[in-house]
Amino acid sequence: MMLENMQVAGGAAGNYLLGLIYRYTGRRHSSVEHFRMVLLLDPLFWEAYEELCMLGVAEEASSVFGEVALQRIQETYLGQTSSFSQRTIVNEFSDSDKTLKDSKLRHNEHFLGNGQQSVTLDSSKQLENSSQTNNSDWNTPSPVPPQVPDVAPPQLRKNLRAPAGEKMVPERLYPETRPRRSARIAARRKINMSQSSGSDADCLHASSSESNSATSLSSMIEKCRIESSKEGFCSRPVATSNHTATTSGQTISGTGNSVDDEENSRLTGFESGPSSIIFGISEVLNLLRLLGECHRHLLMYNCEDALFAYEKLSEKQYNTQWVLSQVGKAYFQLQDYFKADSVFLLAHQMYPYALEGMDIYSTVLYHLKEEMRLGYLAQELLSIDRLAPESWCALGNCYSLQKDHEAALKIFHRAIRLNQRFAYAHTLCGHEFAALEEYGDAERCYRKALDVDERHYNAWHGLGMIYLRQEKFEFAQHHFQRALRINPRSSVIMCYNGIALHESKRSDEALETLDQASISDSRNPLPIYYKANVLVGLGKYEEAAKVLEELKDCVPHESSVHGLLGKIYVHMKLYDKAVFHFGIALDLNPSAIDAVHIKACMERLIAPEELEDYI
């Protein structure tokens, strides 16, 4: 479809919706085109940039949120007053549409089979409502001085879900609150602040943070007293901080409030004018640029770059739930589970009601084998929101840690029922089936996860593992390769790639891959171990022994290292050393099968003639 020939209704928001539809139906190329169009039409459309990151084709944030964007937004905001009303309606239309879509898509997709259809129908209905309410609030004079938003726009979207439990029910049962919220968010974007204050008051009750609402209410009242000479002026840039404080509920806790008051007092006498607007716009774009760059790096799995970029954010921005959970995800991808744990813990403590990223946190705790904390987290999350797939993922991880795979499976199925498009739940289901050795079902689950999100490298990895267990080594290798294409830095996947290559008799490539793995992550001891294994398979016992001797000093408590060393020395006929290492291996508590195996090897050493038959 040629975009030049097609004018999509609804402007940026319409294109966004189309992009989502194309993405969900698997037409990637068209969806990318539409998302790019969204960013051309409205450079402040963060969600579109996120979608592009998820698809893996985002351009650099500095180009998207750069000079061109600045020009464009300036044009939009500093446009003639004659086109004001027309544009405001169009923009509100698009904004409310977008935010409606956000909340709808997140909550209602699993309710509605053909989500996209109903969204457009519903949102068009709601838009009529919203425009009516907007019009009624139009003339309420309570302009807010233009301010720099200190809070990143992304949090606003997240926070539609943030104060989960009590807020979710009103959303579904009382759809009329949505137009008001959308109107509030529209005002965040620009134009008539007057609606916002009206709707803010309405929506304040929905915000679960009472302190925020109280403060914002007072600052709202304060602002109402301030008459703006240019009340009808269309170009109020973006959000005022009190505004965002209300909308973002939890995420801006103490710090947010103090900023409000500061900024309000500072800007009480502020003259609205083109310069302030430009200043506002450029600040917003700066922030978006930073966040965009971080996010792009994260989703391209350049985790170190992402972490470095996140460090550049101001402290206030950094200590928000969204940013902290992204940082946690970055550490998780780097397999640095301790740091990830501390970051997620901070995020969770500061914003206990925000569930995004908590599924990754539960996986971190699973890796660290912290049963109690994981159980506690799961209980907490479920008590906050029983209908969020993240809570059920956490509980499922808890059961899986206790090796109760069937229960974990049931729970992950529940998570899937809550949100069919939650790729991670599908992957976790696949892992459980694999643990139960039901490889057909596991494969099905992983492929479903890949349907939802083709760049979900965990699912590719899971598929590779299944084929490895079934000894279909070429398939396994292909899937590990795909996973590596998406996340080229993961040393674990590189290791498995190496194993698959070795088993497919491509041992030279295997050794290369394993070397790469140990370079890419120096803390990972496994590539060296696997390399020794490969060398043993090739018969190069001296090299293998050398490699393992170094390794055993790095990881002194690993019985498999000593077990393998013992076997190597048996091959090299150095029986004393072999017995020595077998002894250490047995002392280090190997598993039952290994203990038997090692003991058997030791016994055979007493009768060397039988050795060749046994090993």
């Binding site: 393998l564 190997p590 058997a600």
Partner: protein
């Protein structure tokens, strides 16, 4: 608690039984991958009662002794433990007394590996398949046969309420000679 008296090397007597099924963490149940069959059964009390996780239902044999329960796997598996739920108080003369466990490749070459006598069992009875030698912790076999040669009070037919077969957990990481024990190795060994 299950106790064994060591009167002879081949025969052990097991008294009592556990109410709750408690098995080591590093064992996993292997019965799902096997084909179960019995030598004879009364209609309504067939082989499925042995695997239904319901202690109210039982298998009742209907022929000549020894009554056989055959468990056949598709490939050679390592087995370590057999656990059966047998209750003298409920079944009285139907309660098995002498049980022989045989293993082999098929019906033609089964060899007895364990022979035990139950004395008034009252719950889950653990029968370990390990030999004295550490090399014989597991039995590596295609088929297991549980033969009931006599019952308490000389009953003809037997009731068994549930049978579970356990073996060691396989290596979570495929194609490796040994399993990992240290945190460092385990942390880097999987992507979840």
């Amino acid at each position: 608690m299950a106790t064994e008296s060591s009167e002879s090397e081949e025969e052990g007597k097991i008294r009592g039984g556990n109410d709750k099924l408690i098995v080591d963490e590093d064992l996993r149940e292997m019965g799902k991958n096997a084909a179960w069959s019995v030598s004879s059964c009364k209609p309504g009390n067939g082989v499925s009662a042995l695997r239904d996780d319901n202690l109210e239902t039982y298998w009742q044999s209907d022929g000549l002794q020894p009554h056989l329960v055959n468990i056949q796997f598709q490939k050679k598996v390592k087995l370590q433990l057999v656990v059966m739920y047998i209750d003298f108080k409920l079944d009285e003369s139907y309660t098995p007394s002498k049980i022989s466990i045989r293993a082999g490749d098929g019906f033609h070459n089964l060899k007895e590996i364990k022979n035990i006598e139950l004395v008034k069992p009252t719950g889950w009875v653990h029968i370990s398949l390990s030999g004295a030698d550490p090399r014989e912790t597991f039995v590596n076999t295609f088929m297991l046969q549980i033969a009931v040669s006599s019952n308490h009070l000389n009953g003809r037919d037997s009731h068994i309420r549930q049978i579970k077969v356990y073996g060691p957990r396989p290596n979570p990481i495929p194609c490796q000679p040994f399993q990992f024990t240290s945190m460092e190795f385990i942390t880097y060994s999987t992507v979840r």
